[in-house]
């Protein structure tokens, strides 16, 4: 290096030059789209839905939470409705416990009530209007209450009113300041509650579900640290897309709360493979025609072809698909149920029958795009044709549309137990899914 070289190097090596203000915008426009923070969209949406439905369920269950006591009948009465006070809802049941004993004649039930402060009420309603005995633990008193009982045979609802006379306050039974309380309740096993409710005897014990699930992909690629950069570029180039599952399953009611389901499930995981190859060459064939002149006139022509390599950029965009067919074997345990809906926990396994992949990924050898069906050195393709067993867990909410049909809403998580890739491929890949299933259940 001579003196002139040193001067140039010294002055220019760390020199900063101005660049165009718009340079970054132009670069940004050419970069792969930045990942948007929609990663948590489906989990959050599903969580909100679960909370909404769970909240609604809790409302139903709390609303009908009435303890039942002794029962002198073969059929246990269902107490379904609540109390109104002068047509205004009051919260009696939290403190006032009713026991409506079912008699041979549903139109003449006995009513026992334990009030919040230890008072007991007994009313044998042989007629439409009867007097009410009120007593507490220490003393037995007949107090001035009138009970009027009305029954509606059509849907087995019973309403009765307690009306205070002689200025006896009704706050023995409730916090309501009113002097007239109206109770509406329903008794009898013949209430047309939905058959899926496991607390109703003689429930139908077989069912058939047809369902569709929107799936959110949680992809896991594991391997040695030396391949971290390769893992990174795979995650960058393989973008999750809308995925789904669909299928059907038969259900059998094993016992009071336990159900067993099995059937056939099809899942399709979609991804978009997008890779920009900045240094790719394309081959062009140029046709050259040379004319031969003689005295200014064309007398012949020679056509030759020349192949030239044109350097440039190639964008590979391929829609990858991973399809699996599985047999689910699931157990369902009913946590809560009422006449409107039921809530169950579902868990079990998905046994893979077949798995098929299509598309492109970057090769771990040279980071160039390759077909996923391309064989490795050991003769295997990258992905297995059977991905083994997946574990499944979820919450299943069944809304009773009619006596034998339910609408299903089932948020779930499915976790692969083994890698989808062959051992010859250096990374272990699992695709777990979080999904929200909707479907219909028919009971027969």
């Amino acid at each position: 290096m001579n003196q002139l070289d040193k001067i140039f190097k010294h002055k220019l090596e760390h020199y900063h030059a101005d660049f165009h203000d718009d340079a970054w915008n132009k670069i940004e426009a050419r970069l792969p789209k930045a990942k948007k923070s929609n990663r948590f969209f489906w989990p959050i949406l599903s969580l909100v839905l679960v909370l909404l439905v769970a909240g609604r369920s809790a409302f139903y269950f709390n609303d009908s939470e009435v303890q039942t006591g002794k029962n002198n009948s073969t059929s246990k009465p269902d107490i379904l409705a609540q109390t109104t006070s002068d047509n205004i809802k009051s919260e009696l049941t939290a403190q006032t416990i009713f026991d409506i004993a079912h008699t041979e004649n549903v139109l003449s039930p006995q009513i026992n009530c334990t009030a919040k402060n230890g008072w007991n009420m007994h009313a044998s309603t042989k007629s439409e209007t009867t007097s009410l005995d009120i007593e507490n633990e220490d003393q037995h008193e007949h107090m001035g209450y009138n009970v009027s009982l009305q029954t509606v045979a059509l849907n087995h609802r019973v309403s009765f009113e307690i009306e205070a006379i002689d200025n006896v306050p009704l706050n023995t039974f409730s916090n309501s300041p009113s002097n007239k309380l109206k109770f509406v309740t329903a008794i009898g096993g013949k209430e047309p509650v939905a058959k899926a409710c496991p607390f109703v005897l003689n429930a139908r014990d077989k069912s058939m579900d047809v369902y569709y699930s929107s799936d959110f992909i949680c992809k896991s690629i594991l391997g040695p640290e030396s391949l971290n950069s390769y893992k990174g570029i795979r995650n960058e180039t393989e973008l999750p897309m809308y995925s789904f599952s669909a299928g059907f399953r038969f259900g059998y009611n094993l016992s009071y709360r336990w159900n067993l389901h099995t059937g056939l499930n099809y899942s399709q995981i979609n991804e978009k493979f997008r890779y920009i190859d900045p240094e790719s060459n394309s081959t062009r064939v140029i046709t050259i025609k040379d004319y031969i002149y003689d005295n200014g006139r064309i007398i012949d022509s020679i056509v030759t072809e020349k192949t030239v390599i044109v350097p440039g950029t190639t964008i590979h965009t391929v829609y990858n698909k991973i399809r699996t067919i599985d047999i689910p074997i699931l157990a369902r345990y009913t946590l809560m149920a009422n006449r409107h809906m039921s809530l169950s926990a579902v868990s079990g396994v998905f046994i893979n029958v077949a798995s098929y992949q299509k598309g492109m990924i970057l090769s771990h050898v040279d980071n160039k795009p390759v077909d996923v069906l391309q064989e490795n050195t050991d003769g295997n393709i990258m992905y297995k044709t059977n991905v083994g067993i997946s574990l499944y867990g979820g919450l299943s909410m069944a809304y009773h549309l009619s006596g034998n049909t339910d609408f299903l809403l089932e948020p779930h998580y499915r976790w692969q137990t083994e890698s989808m890739t062959h051992e010859s491929y250096p990374l272990d890949q699992k695709i777990n899914t979080f999904g929200l299933t909707i479907g219909l259940r028919y009971k027969f």
């Binding site: 001579n2 070289d5 001067i7 190097k9 760390h14 900063h16 670069i27 050419r30």
Partner: protein, 186 residues
Amino acid sequence: MSPLIVNGRTEKEIIKACLQGDRQAQRDIFHMYAGKMMAVCLRYSRHRLEAEDILQDAFVKVFTHLHEFENFGSFEGWVRKIIVNTAIRNNQKKSFIQEEIGLEHVKEESVGPEVFSTLSEEELIKLISALPEGYKMVFNLFAIEGYSHKEIGELLNIEESTSRSQLMKARRMLQEKVNELYTIAV
């Protein structure tokens, strides 16, 4: 010298964020090195517009190939290498029009090399930019980037002897340009 911490993040953290597609981190990396790399691009190009194109092409490569960067090396060195390679490739694309300059008319040195020290960086870059493509490449790679003739030969797909010859011619041409400037100034 680039700052070690930008927007509260070290260079290593910014690079990690870039790998995760963080656009702000990519912007930070660009602004950390764009000025210095633009100066490199100017030396390899004929005019500013061409330099801007090289800068953009090179930074797109930097971000799309960032996963290939090994953390134990200098990130600036890695970026600079991509800039130089992009500039060479850009030159090869248009090199179907080869410029050949005879040296018969080149005058003998009449001013000492210390005259170059009096020139500004912009003037030095203009002198280099005005060189024929082949001379410019070899002079930049040898004198400023520190490549050997063997490496230059492999990079430009030319013989080592050609690289030596072109370096010599580039130096003479630069000398001639300075002589002209000096003569005018005097």
